[in-house]
Amino acid sequence: MSDQTAAPDQENLGAMLARRGFGRRSLLKFAIVMTSSLALPPSLAPVMADNLAKAKRQSVIWLSFQECTGCLETLLRSSAPTIDSLIFDFISLDYQESLMASAGAAAEHTLRQAVAANKGEYLLAIDGSVPVKDGGVYSLTGGRSNVSMLEEFAGSAKAILAIGTCAAYGGIPKAHPNPTGAVGVEDIISGKPIVNIPGCPPVPEVLSGVLVYFVSFGKLPDLDDRKRPLAYFGTTIHDQCYRRPFYDQGKFAKSFDDEGARQGWCLFELGCKGPTTHNACASLKWNNGTSFPIESGHGCIGCSEPDFWDQGSFYTSLAGSSATGWRNAGIAAAVGLAGGAAAALSARSKTPTIPEDKS
């Protein structure tokens, strides 16, 4: 964490890694992993390694809005000290309220200084949704609303990283009845490159992948229609899931402790939202690649998708529906019976008797 603005004469990443005992071979290995992770051609790995070695510190200004700090916690505790984490060390995190030592007026001063020193060059990282109801009074920093800060600091940013589902789509604060009028960053900012990295919390390696790509090539990676890095969000959890063969075989766990669950069968019937959820959990996994929720025996809750909190129970399968209740069905049947009876009686009144056949 740096409390200072980036200076142009800072050492590059190659020098910093060398100082910490990582040679070019290590950087090349890391680049191979990253190109694979980003779905880039293997031939780009040496280019990425060279570019990374020459890269200067990238200024990042991180603003926390209506959030729970879970995203930041996850990113900080992402892994053991590898080159990956050194990438985080390497970026110049010029402002982050939860991590920085300064507070109050000093913090505000730091923010202004960082923005002025890196105007047009810094990445603006946002976690948390942006409340807009009642002038945005539901989340203030230093007396300023989140929406006001976002509009100001997005203006001179090179690009915006919306980290977590709240920043990307509004997330849990936006859930019904959304008392604060919470929205995602892209609902407010237009005309500025935005990368959504949804997840509650997001997979940390996705953020490092985006940062590495940006630092290496000076541009953002390819995005899908929801502004998510295509390399990480191009497929669904279901497509990557190791339990997928059981889905195709029609073998489903019926409860969390039945024989099917013990056999590791598909959790679709228990409400798994993997088929409709785009994320990299099943491939990158969590806790240094230990596992991901489905591997731990629980279905995916679809936390990286918009409005995931309002999609019904986590334990209702996608095949199910919020079907009408028996009471409404009874009312519909009664209405139908009454209508049909009225129609039949009307027809009877017009034909009081059925004439006998003359034949």
């Binding site: 029609g250 019937e269 079907a323 049947a333 139908g336 129609a343 039949a344």
Partner: protein, 219 residues
Amino acid sequence: MTLLAFARGPAMQAATLIMIAGMFWRLAGILLLRRKTAHAAARTPFLLRLAGGAKTIVTRTVPRKNFWPRVASGVSLGWVLHIGLFVILFAGAPHILVIHQITGLSWPNLPKGVIVIASALTLAALVALLARRLTHPVLRLLSNTDDYLSWLLVFLPISTGILLSGETVAGYGTLLALHIFSVEALMIWLPFGKLMHVALVFAGRGMMGFNFARKGAAT
């Protein structure tokens, strides 16, 4: 609200209520129609009349031997279509889940591959039946908008179901939403067209057999 949430939520509720109200409307309308009074004494006791009704439900499912050469193709395709629909609806895991959610009843499902094969055969039978309807001179004259609309509304859920099982043309969520919408269209139309035979076919045959038995005719 996403497309899928709309399909699974308000759209499904509306379609269900329309289908229920429509079916009860039709049933009440038919049951309360004025009927001829039977003046002749019944030739068989009530239980035998009931048995005659039950027997006709079965016997009318297969054409008489002397008709078979003329109706073989149509009846065979109809069997494939209806058995296929039965397998898809009552042996496909997602469909059993929906039934379980509504009624609490559940039973083992067949593998997805089997359901896909059943769907493909059903779809092929549907296409063949349409071709027959379009090329058969009498059938073509007898056909109206109801026939073609009903055909389309059966075709769409099966075809979207096959696409959903493959998950190739679009994302699972989009395909699932389209599949559910197609089922909802079928549900809404069901009580008002010839698809109502779902509820009427056995009752109609049974009633006819019951009346035949009352007169002492063969069932």
